[in-house]
Symmetry: C2
Subunit: 209 residues, 2 copies
């Protein structure tokens, strides 16, 4: 079997639209949104400018398209997990695991989101990143309250437990964005959640386990 340079071989396999998305994400992440020009994107994607205008309208359009996909999947995960027939612990574990895998799959887009959210004004069209964060919080809190109501969890403060859980998820996200090699994988996240849930499990539910 011949080992090929995947990085350089990959763009060949993609259609122009896909190549544009990949090139834009690469350059936005490396140079920042503001400093990236349409010319650079089309050159890296080896297509013509009208091709970019045809598919995305302009630089804003290609950025919005890059952001749209991961959040669509996130919404799906949130809706599905809210309706699972599992214990609260299992629902949070499963939801966070899926969100973490989504994050890993879109690491470069995540880096771009952080850059836009925390970085200096770059003229990128507004996306309400916080509303997605709040949705994860809302669903987590619903599940936590279910667990307290059913007696699976001790009667702790639901807000506080929700914050601790989201803090763990948030932390593994950012650990992945570090400039050195990340130390926490999905098993590490599961370990953190287990530790938190072990601490808040009711005696009744501990007996069951």
């Amino acid at each position: 079997m011949i080992t090929r340079n995947k990085r350089s071989a990959k763009p060949e396999k993609h259609a122009a639209r896909e190549r544009l998305l990949i090139a834009a994400l690469d350059i936005f992440t490396e140079k920042g949104y503001a400093s990236t020009s349409v010319r650079e994107i089309v050159e890296a994607a080896r297509v013509t400018k009208p091709m970019l205008y045809y598919y995305f309208g302009n630089k804003e359009g290609i950025y919005m398209e890059l952001m749209r996909e991961p959040f669509k999947v996130l919404e799906k995960i949130l809706v599905e997990t809210a309706h699972e027939e599992l214990s609260s612990r299992e629902r949070v574990m499963q939801m966070y695991n899926r969100i973490f895998l989504l994050f890993l799959k879109n690491l470069k887009a995540a880096r771009l989101m952080y850059s836009i959210y925390y970085g200096p004004p770059q003229g990128a069209p507004f996306i309400d990143f916080e509303s997605y964060h709040l949705k994860i919080k809302e669903v987590t809190e619903l599940i936590v309250k279910d667990g307290i109501r059913s007696g699976e969890l001790r009667a702790v403060n639901a807000d506080t437990l929700t914050w601790v859980l989201i803090g763990a998820l948030n932390f593994v996200f950012e650990e992945q964005l570090c400039h050195r090699s990340p130390m926490i994988d999905k098993k590490g996240l599961a370990g953190m959640l287990d530790l938190i849930f072990d601490g808040v499990a009711s005696i009744k539910s501990k007996r069951k386990r």
Copy 2:
């Protein structure tokens, strides 16, 4: 008593050096490091360019000075907390409370740090922000291991517990940087840490409390 406009009155009270620091932090945070010029800083501080060069050398110098102070205090907190004669729980609670207050006191500088760390390349001189994060992790882990050794805490995985604790601290930091009003104050942080420590307390230490 006359209510004065504190924002506009404040700079008058400060010496030129102090006024330069305040102006630089304001403009770096609003416009980003790269887009800020020495001219804008000196105009906002109402001093002459040579004054900035005299105190700080250049734009890099004023940035480094802005970053130096909070990290000096952080180091002090870490050294002091590592040697306290308290339970592990109390040491972490005290250390994180002090770090959180330091963060709140330097909220604008923190915003600038996040912007430099996560934002696009802005040409700011390199500061190893991660090394400070790792120091907090190290000290937390030492304290956690003490607690496990002494029997105060259950024999949980020290790494995992350390991550959960830092995740909580990290989360309250970022909640403060949100674009809406933050919901978690120092009491909220203490509640999160209490919930985590209640969960990992040994039966022996629970009896003592």
